[in-house]
């Protein structure tokens, strides 16, 4: 099933099984079903529980918090991740704060989901990966959909967490088929973290120790199948850990990363946004063994241009990743 359909399906199931689940967002009603059609069909099935709003992102966030506080489970869609900037005050000074500042006496169970990422030529304000600016807000889970994650489990676990969860969906993943079972080139394994999300381990070898560890999350996973296959040709054994919960980093993720890092001695950390002050900086920081060679790669830290070729050059891509791997192996 395509990832967009996976998300659509889990939203349907959540709504069917839990009467308090409410969808809220802009243009999410049928027949349109949202700018990326993720909510298609849902307003027809649950007309009272799919709330299309004016263009008021801050209030979409705030209303979700208020509904969560009063016993509902809102799932908010922000049409493009670029607009999550407008929700920052509600997320940081309200959603994350109410429970701890009221000494744990309330909960704010909700999801905000939003598509991030470029590659579609939408230009500077519709192509960004802004999650890095929200990492490290305490009391909020930030989770990313990837090509290899059981999407359904991500949403159901978010639901069980009874707290605000931001789910990052790279828009390039939507039309792709989820890839969750091993084939004869790529071996996939899931690792449950203590917060109930999963990290996914994918390898291009069976036995033997790996040569290099790739740590990443979200949309960058779209490159991995091809890269792992190409690295078989180069006789490079690659293990890749795709983190589900990207902030806060779980203890299990930390130990998983360290285990493979120690086996490989070489770690390449990849992220879709620019790496400066990004996710990869913190991941680098959690690697304990100082003998390990670490590289980070993200998109170029500049404007994301509309021009197609330029955009490709600015964004992280397969070629850059492969070159980085080869360089690291050759050291």
């Amino acid at each position: 099933m395509k990832i967009c359909d996976e998300i659509n399906t889990v939203l349907f199931e959540m709504m069917q099984n839990n009467r308090e689940v409410i969808l809220i967002g802009e243009d999410i009603l049928d027949p349109y079903g949202g700018a990326f059609r993720i909510t298609k069909g849902l307003s027809s099935s649950f007309p009272e529980r799919v709330l299309t709003t004016p263009i008021s992102e801050a209030t979409i966030a705030g209303m979700s918090i208020g509904m969560a506080l009063r016993g509902l489970y809102p799932i908010a869609e922000i049409m493009f991740g670029d607009f999550i900037t407008l929700c920052m005050d509600q997320l940081l000074n309200h959603a994350s704060k109410l429970k701890p500042m009221y000494n744990g006496n309330v909960v704010v169970p909700m999801i905000m989901r939003t598509p991030m990422g470029g590659g579609r030529g939408y230009g500077p304000t519709h192509s960004q990966s802004l999650e890095k600016h929200f990492l490290g807000i305490p009391f909020i889970d930030i989770v990313a959909v990837s090509l290899f994650h059981n999407v359904k489990r991500i949403f159901l676990n978010a639901y069980n967490r009874r707290r605000p969860v931001i789910i990052i969906e790279n828009k390039l993943l939507y039309p792709m088929e989820l890839f969750i079972s091993s084939n004869d080139e790529v071996f996939i394994e899931n690792m449950l973290t203590e917060t109930g999300y999963c990290d996914v381990i994918i390898k291009n070898y069976i036995n033997n120790t790996p040569d290099i560890l790739i740590v990443t999350y979200g949309g960058v996973s779209r490159f991995l199948k091809t890269i792992l296959r190409k690295m078989i040709e180069e006789e490079i054994r690659v293990v890749s850990v795709i983190i589900g919960q990207i902030s806060p980093i779980s203890r299990k993720s930390i130990s998983l990363i360290n285990t493979y890092a120690n086996q490989c001695g070489k770690v390449l950390i990849l992220e879709e946004g620019s790496k400066e002050f990004g996710w990869s900086a913190e991941i680098q920081g959690i690697i304990e063994n100082r003998d390990i060679i670490i590289n980070r790669l993200g998109s170029v830290n500049t404007i994301i241009p509309s021009n197609k070729k330029l955009e490709e050059q600015v964004l992280i891509n397969e070629e850059k990743i492969i070159n980085n791997i080869l360089e690291m192996i050759r050291i």
């Binding site: 509600q90 009221y102 000494n103």
Partner: protein, 306 residues
Amino acid sequence: MMKKEKVEKIYSLMLLIRRTEEKLLELFSRGLLNGTVHTCIGQEACAVGVMEVIDKEIDIIFSNHRAHGHFLAYSEDVYGLLAEVIGKKSGLCGGIGGSQHLHKKNFYTNGIQGGMVPIALGAAKAEKFKGSNAIVIVFLGDGTMGQGVVYESLNIASLWSLPLLFILEDNHYAQTTPKKLAHAGSFCQRAKAFDIQTEHIKVDDVLKLINVADNAVRYVRENKKPFFLHMETYRFSPHSKGDDYRNAEEIAKFKLEDPLIKLEKELSKEKVKEISENIDNMLLSILNSINNDNEMSLEELLILNN
């Protein structure tokens, strides 16, 4: 309730708020309080008048940085409030929230101006969705009418017919900024433009205010529609502590219309004295008791992170 009893009750509550806040200012000036407090001295009628007519079992209140009065009128939990502001574990929020971040039952505040308005809107949507008979009340100051989310929320409250009562507690100033330096046009018109019914009242007589508030609350509950109540009031105390640059004559003029004093005139001297002494004694004994309470430990705080 008979008129006289009601007057006594209302007066007691208003005086309780005033004395409690005067005590806080005193503790502050003696260096016994940390942080900051925003008192509502002079505005007590707004809090008491509204809380008198809501259904405290089910209704939901969102307030702001200047919430002590709203809170006491809602709950009369002097102990919880004082312990919270003083920073004890026995406080409403364990001393974590402090003066600006209060919660108990259906009462919530936060220190970001305007930020609670869309949250109140969501709460109103939730109550309507659940089919409850509750209404939601959100307090906001004149200054807070500068925040864009307020208008986003007015629009949706009206569009979706939500049981949300906006109470604009207009004390003519935002911190040091007089209304005329911050606002064009009319507050009520701003709500009306979203097709929301409004009413304006000058708060000098709490009994009159109770009637108006009662009508507003009924309207919201019965019609499941928002209402915008503009209360013109005045604070006698500074914005927080020493930050008062208002004209002394202006303050004096407003003090002549103090709703507390006005109400006092309806009671006998003896009754007033009795009420006042009871409150003072209660405050003293509460403060004594709070003195012995523990503070939260870091370990306890960090449990919240799980």
